[in-house]
Symmetry: C2
Subunit: 198 residues, 2 copies
């Protein structure tokens, strides 16, 4: 009743082959044969598992998203007390482990669709969190939570990309999170000659 080993092996091989090749040449430049060749699998076998290239790519990135969600869930549930940036730290750790996949997604491979899903998922969850928090504290948000969430996610994505694309990390994850929080919550780090006139 258990799944055939060959099935697992083929799927895994195809997935990792895709990731490797996308990093090397980019998604659109790849042919199905490129992938099957790298995975040591027949071309027909590919179509036994995936409808097409996009399908395989969608599986891989979907796995990444669910993996992140799984790691974020307990952290978010635990951080009821305030805005601590712990979810960001957890995301950075995840990105350090799955660096290649993150690179691919953040580079906007595959028509930017995976990146859009990534951003949208983060923004949706964040906006919801903001709304809930405001309601709990019985305050009227001074700005559309959706917009605030977009800005906050935009910062995270930008830093995440910068971090994950570096050859050798110039900052540890904890440092990055601290900087990000100081920047978002208090506008610190701007005080180096960048201030506004006001």
């Amino acid at each position: 009743m258990a799944e055939d080993r060959r099935t697992r092996r083929s799927r895994r091989a195809l997935g990792t082959a895709l990731v490797e090749l996308v990093l090397e040449r980019g998604f659109t430049a790849l042919t199905v044969e490129d992938i099957t060749e790298r995975a040591d699998v027949a071309r027909a076998t590919f179509y036994a598992h995936c409808r097409d290239k996009e399908d395989l790519f969608a599986r891989v990135t979907a796995d990444l998203l669910t993996g992140l969600a799984a790691r974020l869930e307990p952290v978010v549930a635990d951080s009821e007390v305030g805005f601590t940036g712990k979810p960001v730290l957890e995301m950075l750790r995840h990105a350090r482990e799955e660096r290649d996949q993150y690179r691919i997604v953040l580079r906007g491979e595959g028509d930017g669709k995976p990146l859009q899903m990534f951003v949208d998922a983060l923004a949706r969850a964040t906006a919801e969190e903001f709304r809930a928090r405001a309601e709990r504290n019985a305050v009227q948000p001074r700005i559309d939570p959706e917009l605030l969430a977009r800005v906050w996610v935009g910062e995270q994505i930008a830093v995440l990309r910068w971090w994950v694309e570096q050859d050798v990390p110039s900052l540890p994850a904890e440092e990055v999170v601290r900087m990000l929080l100081d920047l978002a919550l208090h506008g610190r780090y701007w005080a180096s000659g960048f201030e506004s006139r006001a």
Copy 2:
């Protein structure tokens, strides 16, 4: 000696056809024939002007970038006095005029390459500006200007995308800029129950 009208007409028709179709179906889904058909032009004519699909797309987005640069130049040169956000306002106005093109770029169409160029160009210019400003004020930046620039650009891109994708603009450009500045420089607008514990 002047350029043939037909040449201009074909180029323009192809460009706008591409933009329309990318918005409707996405870049990769298009065939060259789709484009020439929409542009009322023979397929052979297409190849008389462009090497391939990506070439045409690159031209369009490159034009957008140079157009933005042209509008930003005087504004940046004029804002020596401080961090006023005037460039952002100008970019928003540009985006309001060239909304379709911005949509396409910000959605990451074309393998995300145009978006990367857009982000990189903004980040590079911003980082340079930051470095120059710090040096002029004779202060040691407390953080890598490159990183700070990425964060700042990340915010702009996120808001820009949010703004340009809305069916009916919920905020005027000036309001968006004010919010963005208050957020970036002082962390305002977070004070609606989102504060950190510290």
